[in-house]
Symmetry: C2
Subunit: 427 residues, 2 copies
C-alpha cells in the first residue's frame, strides 16, 4: 500500500493530538484514503514535549531534517505565530510538500504569499483548523458551496467571548467578574486581550471571508471591536427585548463589495445563533442558492483542532494531483463596502435627565437625520433615568450623525452606549 509521510512542526497540545489521532485512527484513515498515512518526523525543541512523540518517529530540532526528507509529503505546521512558521511553510511548499496548518495569525496576514507559493509549486495549502477548529466550514465553503454565491457570514468564532457573554446573560453579572471567573475555569487566557478585544475573531473572519467571497481579505481589512464595554445593564435590557448578546464576525457582500467586521451585537432569541452558548462556535451562512446553513461545534481545544488537521490531511491525499486549490490567479478583487453605507439595526441606551421633553428632543434629532424608532423603554428615575431605544434599519452614517448630536444634548448625562442588532428582529 502506498505510504504518505507526515512531518509535524510543533508537538504541543494540538501537535500531540495530531500524533495521537494519526496512530489511534490509522485504520479509519486507511479506509478513507486507501493509503497508509504515517507520522515520520517531529520538529520539537522542548524536551518535555519531545518525550511525548511516539516511538519510531524521529524527533529533531532542525527543520532541514523535515524539509529534506523525500518521504515526507505533507508538512503540518502547528508552531503558530508569524516567524519561523512563515519561513518553514514557504520552504516546505517550495520543496513541493503540501502544507496543513492551524495558524490563523499567519494565514490572515500572509495568506496571499503562502497560497501563491503553493500554486507555484503545484501543491496544496490547507488551513481548516485556523478558522473554527473542528467545524469544517472552510471545506464546506470551498467545496460543497463552491458554486453558491454566499452573501452573508455571521460567525461566533471566539469561544472565550461567547463563554463570557453567555455567562453574563445567564447570571446577570458584570463583565469584569465574569472574565475573572472564565480565567479561573480555563475559558479565558491569563492575557485575554486578543480574544476579548476581537482580534482573534477578526483573523478568523478574514480567512472565512476570503474563502466565501473568493476575494482577498487580510486581518488589516477587518475592523474589530471587543466586548469590554458590554454592561450588565445592556444585557438585561436585551433580555427584556428578546435579544441575546454575542460577539459576531459579520461579513456581507453588498453591491458586489465586501464589508467584514467584528463587533458585539444583539441577536433575537429565535435565531439559530442565539442557542450557541458557552465555549462553542458557529458560522451562519446565507445565499440565494441554499437559503441558510449553520455549522456549529467546538472552536478550540487540542483534540477538535487536531481532528480538523487530520481532515485536511485526508482531503489532500484524496484530491486530484494538480487538483484545484483556490489560489492566487483565481481570486476576484472585490473591494470593500464602506461601513458608513451599511444598513444596520441599532439598540441604544441613553442615561438622561429625569425631566419632561427628553424623548421629544431625542426623537427630534433622530427624525432630522431620517432615523426612525421601532421601540422605546424608559426606566429608572432621577439620576438613574434611562432611555432604551431600538431603531429601524438605518445607514450607519446617519445613525452616527444623529448620535453625535444626541450625545451633545444637555439632558444626556453620559456617553450613549449602542449595540448593533443582527438577524431578523421581529420582537
Amino acid at each position: 500500500m502506498e505510504k504518505v509521510g507526515i512531518g509535524l512542526l510543533g508537538y504541543g497540545t494540538v501537535g500531540s493530538g495530531v500524533g495521537r489521532l494519526l496512530q489511534a485512527n490509522a485504520e479509519a484513515i486507511r479506509l478513507a484514503t486507501g493509503k497508509q498515512v504515517e507520522l515520520r518526523r517531529v520538529l520539537e525543541k522542548n524536551p518535555d514535549r519531545a518525550a511525548l512523540v511516539p516511538q519510531g518517529v524521529a524527533v529533531t530540532a532542525d527543520f532541514d531534517d523535515v524539509v529534506s526528507d523525500p518521504e515526507i509529503h505533507i508538512v503540518v505546521e502547528l508552531i503558530g505565530g508569524i516567524e519561523p512558521a512563515r519561513t518553514f511553510q514557504l520552504a516546505a511548499l517550495k520543496a513541493g510538500k503540501a502544507v496543513v496548518t492551524a495558524n490563523k495569525q499567519l494565514l490572515s496576514q500572509h495568506g496571499a504569499e503562502l497560497l501563491q507559493a503553493a500554486q507555484d509549486a503545484h501543491t496544496f495549502l490547507r488551513f481548516e483548523a485556523s478558522a473554527v477548529g473542528a467545524v469544517p466550514v472552510i471545506k464546506v465553503l470551498r467545496e460543497s458551496l463552491a458554486a453558491a454565491e454566499v452573501t452573508s457570514i455571521m460567525g461566533i468564532v471566539n469561544g472565550t467571548t461567547n463563554y463570557i457573554l453567555s455567562a453574563m446573560a445567564d447570571t446577570g453579572a458584570e463583565y469584569a467578574p465574569t472574565l475573572k471567573k472564565a480565567q479561573e475555569l480555563g475559558f479565558a487566557e491569563a492575557d485575554p486581550s486578543e480574544d476579548v478585544g476581537g482580534k482573534d475573531a477578526a483573523a478568523k473572519m478574514a480567512i472565512l471571508a476570503s474563502i466565501a467571497f473568493h476575494s482577498r481579505v487580510r486581518l488589516g481589512d477587518v475592523e474589530y471591536q471587543g466586548i469590554e464595554s458590554i454592561t450588565d445593564a445592556d444585557v438585561a435590557h436585551g433580555k427584556s427585548l428578546g435579544l441575546v448578546p454575542k460577539l459576531l464576525g459579520v461579513a456581507k457582500l453588498l453591491d458586489g463589495r465586501m464589508n467584514v467586521r467584528v463587533y458585539p451585537c444583539f441577536i433575537p432569541n429565535e435565531h439559530p445563533l442565539a442557542g450557541v452558548s458557552g465555549a462553542y462556535n458557529a458560522v451562519f451562512l446565507e445565499s440565494d442558492s441554499f437559503d441558510k446553513l449553520m455549522l456549529f461545534g467546538p472552536g478550540a481545544g487540542g483534540t477538535p483542532t487536531a481532528s480538523a488537521v487530520i481532515g485536511d490531511v485526508i482531503s489532500i491525499v484524496n484530491t486530484a494531483p494538480g487538483g484545484f486549490i483556490r489560489n492566487c490567479g483565481c481570486y476576484k478583487d472585490l473591494g470593500f463596502y464602506p461601513d458608513a453605507e451599511v444598513v444596520s439595526r441599532f439598540y441604544l441606551r441613553l442615561h438622561v435627565a429625569d425631566e419632561p421633553g427628553v424623548l421629544a428632543k431625542v426623537a427630534g434629532l433622530f427624525g432630522e437625520e431620517g432615523v426612525s424608532m421601532r421601540s422605546m423603554l424608559q426606566t429608572g428615575q432621577e439620576e438613574a433615568a434611562e432611555l432604551v431605544l431600538v431603531l429601524h434599519p438605518v445607514k450607519e452614517a446617519a445613525f452616527l450623525r444623529a448620535l453625535e448630536r444626541i450625545a451633545a444634548l444637555s439632558v444626556v448625562r453620559a456617553t450613549p452606549s449602542f449595540i448593533r442588532v443582527e438577524g431578523d428582529y421581529a420582537g
Copy 2:
C-alpha cells in the same frame, strides 16, 4: 480548458434547479475546478419540462443517448424511485461514468449494489442531496470526520414533521388541524404518509448511519415511528418541563454495534437541536475526537437540493482519479444493538382514576422493574385526572415490561402515551 460533460436524468424541480445553477454559476465552478463543467444532455419525456431545458442542450427521451455519449462524464439522476433509476445508475456506472443522485429511496435500499458497481468500474457514486438537502453532512462525515469515530447521530431530517411539531408547540393546536394547515401552506404533501410516518426520515438515517459508522444500514434495518400519535396535551406538558417535541432519527454506536431508529421525542430547550424549527433540518454529531458538531439548513427545496448536487459534481471533478470512494470492500460489518438493551429516558402520560393510591401503585410496579422516577406531575381531576412522569434513564425492555403491567391496572383509564427524551435533560 478541459471540459466535463454532464448528463441529467429528469428535469423537474431539482433537475431544472441544477440546469439553472450550472449556467448561472459557470464561472464559480470554473474557479472551483479549473475545468469547464457543462450540461450536455437531458433525459426528460414530459414536454412541459423539456421545454425548460436551456438552448444548446440536447433533450432526449432515450437513456441510451445519454449513456452512450462519450463526452458525458457525470450522470446526474434526479428521476427518483427505484426503477428505472436503479437500472440507469447501474448502466451509467458500468459505462465508467460518475453518478450523482438525490435518490434516498434507491440509496437506502440498493446502496450496496450501486456502490459495488461504482467500485468495479473505478468511478464515483455521490449522493449528498439524498440525505439532508443542502446540508453537506455526508461530505463532512466522509471527508472532514473520516478519522473521527462518530458515536452518535441525532437528526431532524424531515422538514414536514419538524414544521408540524414546531407549529403544534407554538400554537398549542392538535395534530390533525396542524397537518391540514401544513398541507395548505405547501409544507406537507397531499399524501403525507411517508413524512409523518417516519419512513422518509428512516431512509435518510440509513444513509447517514452507513457513512458515519462505515457499516451497512439499509432502510429495512431502521425501525421507525411517526408523529401521528403526538397530542397537544403531550406537547403542552413537555413545554412545562422545558422540553420540545421533535421527530428525531437517532443512530448510536453502542458496544461496537449500531442502533438506528426514528421516533418522536422530547429534547431540552437548551439543546442546539431545539432551536431548529419550521421546515429546517439539522444533524447533530458526537464523537470523542470533536465533541459535538451540528449542521443546520434547508432539508428540501429545489434550489438547495440542486446546490448539493452541484457540490457533488465539483467534488468528483476535484477528486483524484481512482481516488477513494468509501465502498464495498472497505465497509465494516458492525451488526445491530437490540432496542431492548438501549438505555433511554422516558416521558410518560397516564390517564388515571382520580382516587387515592394511584401513584403508589404505579410507582410500585416501576420499582419492581428497577425503573425510578425523576419527576411527577398530577393534573386534572375526576375523568380528566392525569399523571405525567419523567423517568431516570432505564433499559427500554425494563420500561416496557413495567409499562405493560401499569397499563393493565384498573386505575389506568386509557393506553399510556410515552415519548423518549433525548439530549442531556437536566430540567
